[in-house]
């Protein structure tokens, strides 16, 4: 039983990171109806930004308490990723607003490859160590269970970010504009919504969440490389589809479920008769099953294709 609970905790902390990345996919999809393939690579750039910020600032901010320093890095990375996301949107996607979806998709793949290979050129292909921002310490008093403070912080901050996001989307004028745009872009612009600004803002917000996800992921796993965004990016996409693409709580729940399923499949591979080598296939099998049987996901709305 203890082992099962431990696996559940492992899965949830992995899932929290998937959830953060999935939120970015879902937001962009909600507004633009397209999958930003480069999202996972913005996540990668965020991790490297965190590494460099951490190294540069550490000597200058010696007296700072650890949590404040970590918070500052988190904030800086989120800003950097938001800027990168906004830039990518302006340069690559904006000129294609009226073009067929396939053209935009290919551009997104192009941006993704560009970030990966430029990253490889600048950072090298070998994995690098991520500076530990917080001292990892086990939380005592849980019986035989091992939970680190970082895992708890990741879960906590993820929940807090989700609430902030919910507030922005539901309670602010920008959020209202985002929802209007997602419902009908033409009508929204007739009602005085500046579509361009809203789209850029959405991209920035989604990328900032990817940046936060990157800092958490790198803090949990401590090794980063230029291709680190590919698999988490794809799995986060699966999480977004699982939860119902376009739905914020859906992305969150989808991420957590995917993290738990993946961990359980690997942890109980001998019981299930599935070699753990199939781990990466699990996410894709889930994706295919969902798209076949419930394409709208757990929380999504079914949209009829219009002629």
């Amino acid at each position: 039983m203890n082992e099962f609970l431990q696996q559940l905790i492992n899965g949830l902390s992995l899932g929290a990171v998937y959830a953060l990345i999935a939120l970015g996919y879902t937001m962009v999809y909600g507004v633009l109806r397209f999958i930003n393939f480069a999202h996972g690579d913005v996540f990668m750039v965020g991790a490297f930004a965190g590494m460099y910020f951490g190294r540069w600032l550490k000597p200058h901010l010696v007296g700072w308490p650890e949590w404040l320093f970590a918070g500052l890095i988190l904030l800086l990375v989120m800003v950097a990723c938001a800027a990168l996301g906004g830039l990518v949107e302006r340069l690559a996607y904006k000129p294609l607003r009226e073009k067929p979806r396939l053209t935009v998709l290919i551009t997104a793949i192009g941006v993704s490859l560009l970030l990966e290979y430029t990253g490889q050129l600048i950072f090298g292909a070998a994995p690098r160590g991520f500076p530990s921002l917080l001292t990892s310490a086990p939380i005592a008093g849980l019986g035989g269970l091992h939970v680190s403070n970082i895992q708890m912080i990741v879960l906590g901050v993820t929940a807090a970010l989700l609430m902030c996001l919910h507030y922005i989307v539901m309670r602010t004028r920008m959020g209202l504009a985002m929802r209007a745009l997602s419902l009908n872009p033409t009508a929204a612009s007739l009602m005085g919504v500046n579509n361009s600004v809203v789209i850029s803002f959405t991209f920035g917000l989604g990328s900032a969440l990817a940046g936060a996800g990157a800092v958490f992921y790198a803090s949990l796993y401590q090794a980063i490389d230029p291709f680190m965004g590919v698999l988490p990016g794809m799995k986060a996409f699966v999480a977004a589809v699982l939860g119902g693409i376009g739905s914020l709580p859906g992305a969150m729940v989808g991420g957590l479920i995917l993290g738990v399923i993946e961990t359980l499949v690997v942890g109980y591979s001998q019981v299930l008769g599935v070699p753990p080598g199939y781990r990466d296939a699990v996410a894709f099998v889930i994706l295919i099953l969902i798209l076949l049987f419930k394409p709208s996901g757990l929380f999504g709305k079914t949209l009829k294709e219009k002629v």
Binding site: Q7, N10, L14, A125, A126, G129, L231, T263, V266, G277
Partner: protein, 369 residues
Amino acid sequence: MLPLLGVFACKKSPDAGSLDVIPVGEFASLTGATASFGQSSHKGTQMAIDEVNAAGGVLGKKLKLITEDDQSRPGEAATVVRKMLSRDKIVALLGEVASSRSLEAAPLCQQAGIPMISPASTNPKVTEVGDFVFRVCFIDPFQGTVLSKFALSKGWKKVAVLTDVKQDYSVGLSQYFKKHFTANGGEIVGEQSYSSGDKDFKAQLTAIKGSQPDAVVASGYYTETGLISLQARELQVNAPLLGGDGWDSPSLVEVGGKAIEGSFFSNHFSVEDPAPAIQGFLKKYRTKFGAEPDAMSALGYDSAMILVDAMKRAGTSEGPKLKAAIASTKDFAAVTGKITLNAERNADKSAVMLEVKGGQFRYVETVAP
């Protein structure tokens, strides 16, 4: 398309057929995913060739090292080796570290009758390709046996195995470890696997923790091993980790930090070994590159030196005679130990066990074949 063909047709190598240099080919992964291995072995090889040339060359001629980068990509190795064989008219080929890419090149060398010496491909299949293919490192079965012997000598009876199923090297090492370990009274209490590139090993480690092993064999490369050690300690899996020469990189300590302390791995040589061959190599390497050599550089160096030694003994650089001379290499005092090439064209030599201590790889013992 025709003008493009013209470009290729005109690019004949000026060295083809010229008599004052001996062209030796080398292929390595200088860029891409396993660039660190390729760059290390290349530095060692280059140093050996420079040294030989500085001392007057071989057979009255200078050696010319022609290096091609296979970009760590499948398929590229075959292309660049064909290029060197047909364009540069190389007399022998040195490379690769990764067995998968050596396996692409080996049939080409065999067919062309050009000897090939791999510095560090440990998959037994490489030299099985034919009698022109050699290696200067030990092979997976031997390394697996070494690890198993070491574990048994430490009194570890219950061992869990964690394999990287994406790497042929790791799969082989785990397989031969299990074979020897179970045949000699050990018990494998848990078998888990992952794929290179994974970052989360907690599921596997939690399952391993339940079986309470005395040690955990992590047979993959250093890239994941550092992370595995961190997550193992976090989950209070405190058994020492045990691995092979794929651990040999400073980045293991950079990522693993304190968590990897007290773990053991087998390697080709130790920088702490006082043997003059090793200390001389260390000194030259530090002067030339300003860095510490790793096992790949030492093996790269040895592969070139064994080739040169064979050329001297054969008195020619002709394929079949050179091949025979390489095959008869006996007790060659190389950096990575005394090398004798056996009937299967593999190096019979000992391995060393190293312990990670204070961020350094400390010598523990030598395990003879």
